[in-house]
Subunit: 384 residues, 2 copies
């Protein structure tokens, strides 16, 4: 269902020949209206890919007619020529759809530092436009995969007659400031650009921004939300925001489960923090601790590494009041040895770490995965 679950959208995914292996590599999502409000959130990496610079600019109007996405090349660190290529791609989409390039967002993913093969990409846009369909969402989701083992889609339908759906790609270089990902969400609810932006930022802040696979932030992260208004329903803002968050949460979970080489999905709940920012800082510090991620891979409930990670943060806490549970067993109490660590059952894929800061009433959940030899292999054996 993906980006075509909501009424008013067509999509396509085709093989343009950007990837040398012949796999699908070009996706097109088109908003047929009647409205075309849109919002976007982009990487906070200061080294931004050409398509990010382009799409940020385009989104200032609060309107999008279409999004074109390619895998097989990130078009990042490609200088003025890279930006010209992004511009040309948007112009080509505008030409075949009879729209303005100023309402066409572009997203790219793949290797940094190489130019896109425009002689394949531009004809690919024409092919994709010819393949547009109200059932094209799955194919679009497949075409944006890089090292993803599965394509990722999610849909929430409101009993009040509108839908939010979407697709995501990402399997590594996942870290806050958005996981490395391309995400396109669509809705047939009638929502203006300002409310779309509000809902999208609130959702990404609590979902994608708290998925931290390997601490590495991409140059290309892009999350877009397009509204067609085709349901003719103006939703309750709170209900709409909740639906957008649910779809982002679902896609974020799929990203972490497909993280490169991972054998454990690790949920980190930081509780009793003085502030939500403290909770997030602590959660991320734990999520980025390579030694802990190795230990969990080895099914070792090494809580000392959790405390060591907490100790590097600026969050409010007293080291002698910290409590840590792993899979429900409080192995650390008041900063020292707690229940017997042999009680911790580490056999399952999901590992749950609870870090109790004993400093207030705020909480946050951050997701990560273990660090494995497969991760090293995937990221050392070839350029990506």
């Amino acid at each position: 269902m993906s980006t075509t679950a909501a009424k008013g959208f067509t999509a396509a995914g085709i093989a343009a020949g950007i990837k040398e292996n012949g796999n699908p590599d070009l996706a097109l999502v088109v908003n047929r209206g009647p409205r075309r409000a849109a919002a976007g959130v982009f990487t906070s990496n200061r080294v931004k890919a050409a398509p990010v610079l382009w799409s940020e600019q385009v989104l200032k109007s609060g309107q999008l007619a279409a999004v074109v996405l390619n895998s097989g090349g990130a078009n990042a660190c490609t200088g003025p020529k890279g930006f010209q290529d992004t511009h040309a791609t948007a112009e080509k989409v505008a030409e075949v759809l009879g729209e303005s390039a100023g309402e066409v967002a572009v997203a790219s993913t793949g290797l940094i530092g190489t130019l896109l093969p425009m002689d394949k990409l531009l004809p690919g846009v024409e092919t994709a436009a010819g393949a547009l369909s109200e059932h094209g969402g799955e194919k679009a989701a497949i075409a944006i995969k890089t090292t993803d083992t599965v394509h990722k889609t999610a849909v929430v339908t409101s009993p009040n007659g509108w839908t939010v759906g979407g697709m995501a790609k990402g399997a590594g270089m996942l870290a806050p400031g958005l996981a490395t990902m391309l995400v396109v969400l669509t809705t047939d609810a009638d929502v203006d650009a300002a409310d779309l932006d509000k809902s999208l930022r609130a959702a990404t802040r609590a979902t994608f921004d708290r998925v931290d696979s390997d601490g590495c932030m991409s140059t290309n992260d892009t999350v877009l939300l397009l509204a067609s208004g085709a349901s003719e329903v103006a939703p309750d803002q709170a209900e709409f925001a909740q639906a957008v968050r649910a779809v982002c949460d679902d896609l974020g979970q799929q990203l972490i489960r497909d993280a490169e080489g991972a054998s454990k999905d690790i949920r980190i709940d930081v509780i009793n923090a003085a502030t939500e920012d403290d909770a997030v800082e602590v959660g991320r510090s734990i999520a980025r601790n390579n030694l802990l991620k190795c230990a969990l891979h080895g099914e070792d409930p090494n809580w000392g590494r959790v405390l060591s990670a907490i100790g590097t943060t600026s969050a409010a806490f007293d080291p002698n009041q910290l409590n840590v549970a792993i899979n429900g067993v409080w192995v650390c109490k008041k900063g020292s040895v707690g229940e017997d660590r042999d009680k911790v059952d580490m056999r399952f894929r999901e590992v749950r770490i609870t870090a109790d800061l004993a400093a207030g009433g705020e909480t946050a959940t951050v997701w990560t995965n273990d660090l494995t030899a497969d991760y090293v292999h995937e990221n050392s054996a070839y350029s990506s």
Copy 2:
């Protein structure tokens, strides 16, 4: 030569039975005077092991008669009992040497969250005291090893008649705020506590603090500098500071070369930064990028990952002015594709990354190593 290279010191390293495999695990370094000025630098992790809390307190007097160090247990996150054990260890050393416990520093390394076997450690102190020798420096250096494959010592002798020497342990959990390490430096120069402190802080800031193996900061990092004054020479302060830095630099290099599972030593020179802090921030960000560390392991000069890491910092730079060289080949120029990456020779163990921020005249060098399947194996196969 190690800690007994300088006159006025004796040392010993013995097997007390703290390690189950029977390897040496207890070291004692004693300052025979005539003076006993001392300085120390400790982990900035807010979760500090009992021996760190103890030794920080002891150092306030600016005097140390002895240092006792154990491997086989970190005595971190061990609560009030752990602190009592550290105190009892210092008291035991004081008793056998006829000194005050208030001038005995304690350092521990090994697994977090388990109590030390005091029934073995305290008799071990007596054994060590009986084994003290002016040639005991090597044995002391061997006794503090954990996952180290080699023991680490360094010595600088001044033509002006004084010496600085020392030992270090550390092979993982290496990150700023001191690499995870125990280091004891000794000198027979006649230097007061304030000048020792000044020299030591300046040295660690530019050496150990810029060694970042895996981004993980320990609860136990301790660097001590003891001066016996036995040479009867009061050195030039600048020359002395330079000698301390040279010994720290040498030991820091040995730490990175022995990092767990590493196959590449990576030197990161950040040049033309607006400030030294900017240069260090950028160097650390590059040093901590798991994706880059995997790529370098695979001998892939993936400069896009360098730019991506620079982009996550708050340093002053213009993305379109960044230049990156790998092993002398400027593969990235002005934020885009530079010389042919196939020109980069990646066959050797040392990899040199030069990141030119084009924003000023400051520089810093940060050392790290690659991320390998062996690292994952070492840190997942057993608790440490």
